[in-house]
Symmetry: C2
Subunit: 211 residues, 2 copies
């Protein structure tokens, strides 16, 4: 108990320990469901007992895997990030850098919000406002991921700008706007506004006009 092992193996080697594999599988199943709950009702909507009941586990079994509530939060936030990368960021890497990749990112993002990947829509739209005033590791993780997303957009806009693909804009300001509009689109979709994606695309197109 004093010598708690991180369940993170040395980065080079593959995990072969069957116990750790089983644990990782269980953790993944739990955090996957936790992300859905958190996108719907926020991280505060999570509880060890609820997750256990929903997944047919015991409350203490869930506790064994995450030790504390904050650990569960952090694991859920990390799981959301990985699912988001798979659904939005990595598919967009197929597009060439610059304007095309920005379009791909926005298109995949709108799919991510519209389909939606998580039951309650965008995970960060649901949870960043809840934690942005509460210092701590959860806020830091959410804010860091949000910042990464902004940087991703602005970097691609900068690339498009340098390549002469788009008219002169401030890439950081445009990324800020794009993210703002996407978040508003997510909320509008949640409220039943089916026209929101169209509006979002129109705004983004404004940033991508040829010079």
């Amino acid at each position: 108990m004093e010598e708690m092992s991180d369940n993170v193996p040395p980065p080079g080697a593959a995990v072969t320990d069957g116990r750790l594999l089983r644990g990782a599988r269980s953790r993944r199943a739990i955090t996957r469901h936790a992300v859905d709950i958190a996108s719907l009702e926020g991280l505060n909507g999570l509880s060890l007992g609820r997750l256990a009941t929903d997944l047919g586990l015991s409350k203490s079994g869930v506790q064994t895997l995450f030790k504390t509530k904050e650990n569960l939060y952090l694991a859920t936030v990390e799981a959301a990030r990985e699912l988001f990368l798979d659904a939005v960021v990595r598919p967009a890497q197929a597009a060439p850098p610059g304007a095309a990749r920005v379009r791909a990112l926005i298109d995949h993002w709108i799919d991510y919000a519209e389909k939606p990947l998580f039951t309650g829509g965008c995970f960060w739209a649901a949870n960043l406002p809840d934690f942005d005033s509460r210092p701590g590791p959860v806020r830091d993780a959410l804010a860091g991921q949000h910042q990464d997303w902004l940087s991703l957009i602005s970097a691609q806009l900068r690339h498009a700008l340098n390549a002469g693909e788009i008219a002169s804009i401030d890439p950081d300001l445009a990324a800020f706007q794009a993210d703002a509009v996407l978040n508003a689109t997510n909320t509008a979709l949640r409220l039943g506004d089916r026209d929101a994606p169209g509006r979002a695309r129109r705004v983004i197109d404004g940033f991508l006009t040829r010079p």
Copy 2:
């Protein structure tokens, strides 16, 4: 108990009943504090016991005034609306309709988020994402207030457009963008970004360029 009286008097007459006046005063004190808590941690952060402790009342006394938790939520949402109207909307009515009033609304809004009027920043930025996926009267109230805000902006933009004050834009789309940017500004301020208001003003100025 069956014949519950609404504490809303006939719209014409002033309230003279000392008991109702006292109740209204107590309710106002409670909801004022509740709005602060809800802006910080969300409406879910509210509890009868916490409000009672913070304000030196008894838990059952608070319960008497609001009967149920949902009633407390609705009263808090309504209190936030009234405080917002006083801080942002009504002061802006001093400006002439059109572009000037839009500027006044945005300036007062940024003050509202920057000062801030509520401890945790914008009340709707904190709570609409939490309730946008949960059907019920709380969601309806929050969504209605948000829609009123959007309509207010777009109406003033339309006025500016008809008066030839600004270049040709889609007023609804611009209002959607403006609101999106303001919400993102609130979050950025919460995360310690002091440059956010400047960015917001630059974006809004883009909608208000002369034709």
